[in-house]
Amino acid sequence: MSLWVDKFRPRTLDELHYHEGLSARLKSLAASGDFPHMLFYGPSGAGKKTRISCTLKQLFGNGVEKLKIDQRVFISPSKRKLEINIVQSNFHIEITPSEAGNYDRVVIQELLKEIAQTQQVDLNAKQRFKVVIINEADSLSRDAQAALRRTMEKYMSNMRIILCANSTSRLIAPIKSRCLLMRVAAPSPEEMQTVLEHVAKKLRFDLPPEASQQIVADSGGNMRKALLVFEALKMQSPDLSGSLKIAKPDWETYCHKVADLIVQEQTPARVMEVRSKFYELLSHCIPPTVILKTVAERVVERVDENLKADIMHWAAFYECRMRIGNKKIYHLEAWVVKVMSLYKVTKHFVYDFDMSEFE
């Protein structure tokens, strides 16, 4: 058994359900023989990786599906061992350098040099180059990006790079200019419903339209999430009828409750309580940026109009600091305290105003 997401993932460009224009372009690119470096970007769950793998298949044929997973050990300058999982076929190699944290530069340099300096030996290969897929390219450090930029030029004859990122904003300009940018937008609700129905048809059961609408509404344009929810729902209530309760991930409800805590009371003791909640979230591997975003969105829903902009401003402000700093909790908490003190002022203001009315 595998997850539906994996099981029904389109394998070729023709099987893709949406963004037909993009698929056509990728197809013609793969056929042209001159394939550029590429950068796929778009929100998560939009189908970037799926499109990359389809493109690879178009380029190299079925050979790319014969994969092996290796664990490679790199030695950081400080003699620390870094273990990185590498997925590769004869024609391509896929890495997630951000797993190496601060040492991603080492991984990028070593690996790319190694690949770039070996020619394609398979005479039957359709292309003379190998492809390197770099996941989560937007979390590459500046160093690693700079290292990448040089390599991209130098080894163009042997190697093409496909970057996969959520947004281009964190990539340095030289990299962006060396790549063909491919935006993979989130699917529209209709497109998502088509996909869900397609899956239901493959599995030979009927998907009530209400259920699919509900799933789509809940997923917020994230196809992967929609399919995961779909599968979970099917497991819980096999007929998918009646009132469906889409279970949010624990951490999301948790974040919402944290937001409620912030709005309810603004005291130092409450700050302490919120902190312990943040600690819980962090120790469950929820990325601090996601925490901040989720909590902030929820808080904004619950406060007055005039505060919304400020709250988001501070969220952005502290997220910026958080990305550079080491101790995420400081920034999360600083934002909470800021929001509390802002919110408290307006609450008092309203209160005073009411009192003066009565007098």
Binding site: N135, P268, V271
Partner: protein, 647 residues
């Protein structure tokens, strides 16, 4: 350090020639430090707690003779003596060596070898080879050292000449066959291969050999290095702090007492004895006068249980007193009392000046008091706290008189108007036992208790955030981090801070960090499982096998729960690894998990507070801020716990 070691060796050789213990006669002022000159020779002289000495002695006896049942011998192979610097670890061993009559074979990394090495790696390995050779030789060729065929000096000469290694032997005091190996100057354990070889070497010595002759026991002495907070690299935090202990103790059969800082009572006694010896034994060259009891007290207090530094300070105090005390040049122990009173009469000013000179450098701040100073935010003209004695209140008034009021701020800045602070940031920074990042964690853990409302919290937390942010740009040690953390905290805290029986807690950040690491391992497990499932699903491996870890952590939770509940209902679904619960399961609980309360003796940073209780602790009295009234601590926290749950 090597110089000091050399000195010590030289002296020991000398003293072994002169077996008289109690009646030492120092006829010349040989320029040695007091630390070396008056090193304890018997157990009575030791300022170490009796029980500790007894522990070590018992261990040694068991190691040599096997204890009462004669079977313990093979379990007593390596003894690790740990503890802060200057707690008489080595001295205890030497005293016991004298008492029990065994030899100490000590390994020393010789500086000349290392200095000459240009191609570091090869040379270094060679150094380690020497170390290994030393170990083997020391453990097997015992009769070379202990059979008294040749004179002690020649045996020593032979060792050094035969093998360029710097193994040195103490001259045997009698012809007993017992000796032990002392490792104090360890090879570079931060170098991983060296560390592995070091362990292997120790292991091989520990494993019981078939031969009837047991290998000599090994004693490893490790001084706790200073505490450090976490810097950019998380790994550094663990490694840098106490690498020595962890790396060395990673060998089995290791056990050993941890030496505590020396209790003030014991230290005072020892120092008095030292002074008595000094001023009585050598009237011809003991210049100066014995310091007063006040000075002694201050020296003891400021040493923080480090007897080596205390003796140094004492020697310095006597030297510094030299010009003023010209009339009482030669003095016997009998007239000491009179002279003391004379000095007192002469005027406290002189003594104070000396004190200042001696203690300023040594005065270090206990973490507990550092946090007190920062978090209580005392400012000029604060009303004295109720628990303060009249003397302390007067001291505070004196301090206030010295403080200069800041110039008045313009109207639009009146928000930032504060009275002059009684806290001197520069002193804090130089005396702080912890670095800025650890200080940040401590402030962060505790500041909320000291704030009255969230606006004050805002200032503190924003300062911390700023510090962390700026620290992210700059290399590890920024000179700004400490002042920023303290100043922003002091500026933001209310003044005066309301006393609610706050308890300073240790940061829970480290626990969270560990939990997070475990959870990420769980994510990794699930990721690997997904890959396997997919491969076994008969689809071939999909080209996009990569589920990123973040995606697994944030998006797979619901599915995993459904799988869990599905399997509970009886359907057969393959189970993901159990470790997924570490990140997918996040129950909402109300209330706050409190951290461990920071005690007065704690040095900060995680598990260090877990020292065993000892009588010594009760005796220790440390200066500085008084412990705040802890008894009525229940009130404020009870309130916090009562906060009603959301929803």
């Amino acid at each position: 350090m090597p110089a000091a070691k050399k000195l010590r060796t030289a002296k020991l050789d000398l003293s072994s020639e002169r077996p008289t213990k109690k009646l030492r006669v120092y006829d010349t002022d040989d320029g040695r430090l007091w630390v070396d000159r008056y090193e304890p020779k018997t157990e009575e002289d030791l300022a170490v707690h009796k029980r500790k000495v007894e522990d070590v002695r018992r261990w040694l006896l068991e190691a040599f003779d096997g204890g009462p049942s004669a079977k313990l011998q093979k379990y007593r192979r390596i003894l690790a003596l740990t503890g802060p610097a200057g707690t008489a670890k080595t001295t205890t061993l030497r005293v016991l060596a004298r008492e029990l009559g065994f030899d100490i074979l000590e390994w020393r990394n010789s500086m000349s070898d290392r200095g000459s090495s240009r191609g570091t790696r090869e040379e270094f390995e060679a150094l380690f080879d020497k170390f290994q050779a030393f170990l083997t030789r020391a453990s097997t060729c015992q009769n070379v050292f202990s059979s008294n065929t040749s004179g002690p000096s020649s045996s020593q000469a032979r060792t050094t000449q035969s093998s360029q290694s710097s193994a040195q032997t103490q001259t045997p005091s009698d012809s007993s066959k017992r000796h032990l190996i002392l490792l104090e100057d360890l090879p570079n354990l931060l170098h991983l291969p060296t560390q592995a070889r070091f362990h292997a070497a120790l292991q091989s010595l520990c494993t019981p050999t078939a031969s009837s002759v047991p290998t000599p026991p090994i004693v490893v002495i490790i001084s706790d290095s200073g505490l450090r907070g976490e810097q950019n690299d998380d790994d550094n935090w663990e490694k840098g702090r106490q690498w020595g202990k962890k790396e060395v103790l990673d060998v089995r059969n290791v056990l050993g007492p941890e030496f505590n800082p020396i209790a003030p009572t014991l230290m005072t006694k020892a120092l008095q004895a030292l002074l008595a010896t000094h001023f009585s034994s050598s009237s011809s060259h003991a210049k100066g006068k014995p310091p007063t009891r006040d000075i002694l007290d201050i020296v003891v207090e400021s040493s923080n249980g480090d007897i080596r530094s205390a003796v140094m300070a004492l020697q310095f105090a006597c030297i510094a007193a030299l010009p003023s005390g010209s009339k009482s040049k030669s003095k016997s122990a009998g007239t000491k009392k009179q002279s003391q009173s004379k000095i007192k009469a002469e005027g406290g000013g002189n003594a104070r000046a000396v004190l200042e000179a001696v203690t300023r450098r040594e005065q270090s701040l206990v973490l507990f008091h550092l946090m007190g100073k920062v978090l209580y935010n005392k400012r000029k003209n604060d009303p004295p706290a109720t628990h303060l004695s009249a003397k302390e209140a007067a001291k505070e008034r004196d301090l206030d008189a010295l403080l200069v009021d800041p110039p008045p701020l313009p109207d639009w800045l009146h928000l930032h108007e504060r009275r002059a602070s009684r806290v001197c940031i520069e002193t804090l920074a130089s005396d702080s036992p912890i670095d800025s990042s650890l200080l940040g964690l401590y402030i962060h853990q505790n500041y909320t208790q000291f704030c009255n409302d969230v606006d004050e919290c805002d200032g503190v937390c924003d300062g911390l955030s700023w510090m962390d942010w700026v620290g992210g740009h700059l290399p590890a040690h920024t000179p700004y981090a400490f002042p920023v953390a303290t100043l922003s905290t002091l500026h933001a805290l209310p003044s005066p801070v309301a006393r609610r029986g706050q308890k300073v807690c240790k940061p829970s950040w480290f626990e969270v960090r560990t939990a997070e690491m475990e959870a990420w391992n769980g994510v990794g497990d699930v990721g690997a499982w997904l890959g396997r499932e997919e491969a076994s699903g008969g689809l071939g491996v999909s080209a996009s096998a990569g589920w990123s870890h973040t995606t697994i952590a944030t998006e797979l939770g619901g599915w995993l729960r459904a799988v869990a509940s599905g399997s509970a209902a009886g359907t057969t679904v393959p189970q993901p690894p159990r470790s997924h619960r570490l990140f997918s399961h996040l129950p909402w609980s109300s209330g706050i998990k409190g951290g461990d309360v920071l005690g007065e003796d704690d040095e900060g940073g995680g598990e260090d507070g877990l020292r065993d209780e000892d009588e010594e602790r009760d005796v220790r009295v440390l200066g500085g801020v008084k412990e705040e009234d802890l008894d009525d601590g229940a009130g404020w926290w009870a309130e916090a716990d009562d906060i009603e749950e959301a929803e």
